[in-house]
């Protein structure tokens, strides 16, 4: 496909390439890749972006997703186990407490159409691109 070929050409501006590059550069500054919590994976198509994150054991009501312009913010908290006085930890490795993470996407988000799903401890957030920023197919008329 013609557009695909263009995409692979050097110098063709891909906002996602820049996004990844920025992130790598930032993490190099801190020497170790330290991402703020929770870690996310980002998937894109022409029309939208899907952000996924693993936050097991959380009550979906304790998660707050907000969108402004190009920024997605995920906030939430997970309570630690309630222990009685005689109970004791042998191991305590699981995280607990509050978290907040903001992700800036390379396009404006259609805030009204954002949807989220929580299944098996994984959160899926679908963020459609603002109408004006979607790629448009232009028909070529033959005379």
């Amino acid at each position: 496909m013609l557009w695909r070929d263009f995409d692979d050409l050097n110098g063709f501006w891909d906002p996602w390439r820049e996004f990844e590059w920025m992130r790598r550069r930032l993490s190099r500054l801190i020497s170790e890749p330290t991402y703020d919590f929770p870690p996310v994976n980002i998937w894109v198509s022409d029309d939208d972006t899907v952000v996924t994150t693993e936050i097991p054991g959380i009550d979906p009501r304790d998660v707050d997703i907000s969108v402004t312009g190009r920024t997605l913010t995920i906030r939430g908290s997970r309570k630690s186990e309630e222990l009685k006085e005689e109970d004791s930890y042998h191991r305590r490795e699981r995280w607990s407490g509050r978290f907040s993470k903001a992700i800036e996407l390379p396009f404006n988000i259609e805030a009204d159409k954002v949807s989220a799903r929580f299944t098996k401890g994984i959160l899926y957030i679908t963020l459609p691109k603002a109408e004006a920023e979607r790629p448009r197919k232009i028909e070529i008329k033959s005379e």
């Binding site: 996004f19 899907v50 097991p56 005689e86 930890y89 042998h90 994984i122």
Partner: protein, 134 residues
Amino acid sequence: MKAGTKELQKKEARVKGDVERTKEKRLYCPAVDIIERRDDIVLIADMPGVDEKSVEVTLEKDVLTIYGEVEPEIPENHRLVSSEYGVGDYQRSFTLSDEIDRNKIKATVKNGVLRVVLPKVEAVRTRKIPVKAA
């Protein structure tokens, strides 16, 4: 936040010797809490992507193994542009002491968290002896 001070990256499971899995999928070591209560020991493991059908709890001799298989859910017609966490199966083993009543072990999974309750044998349940002031 407590999480900020701890290592939060998923850890790959250690493999004994050079034994490898036939599957090419990654294998992670789930983070666990183990709590001893008066009548039982509770093991809680974070295993996102796992449900009651894809998790296995086995007890062989004195080794308790938890295993979870994850079928990665990939959004259709999307490409991955940024990845901060990996997806794979989970496995971890623990040795149990004799004080566990093996026939009464119960396991449940909810929202990607496995919870195994290991009841203590009747005889070892600690009895609280009240100390009276003389």
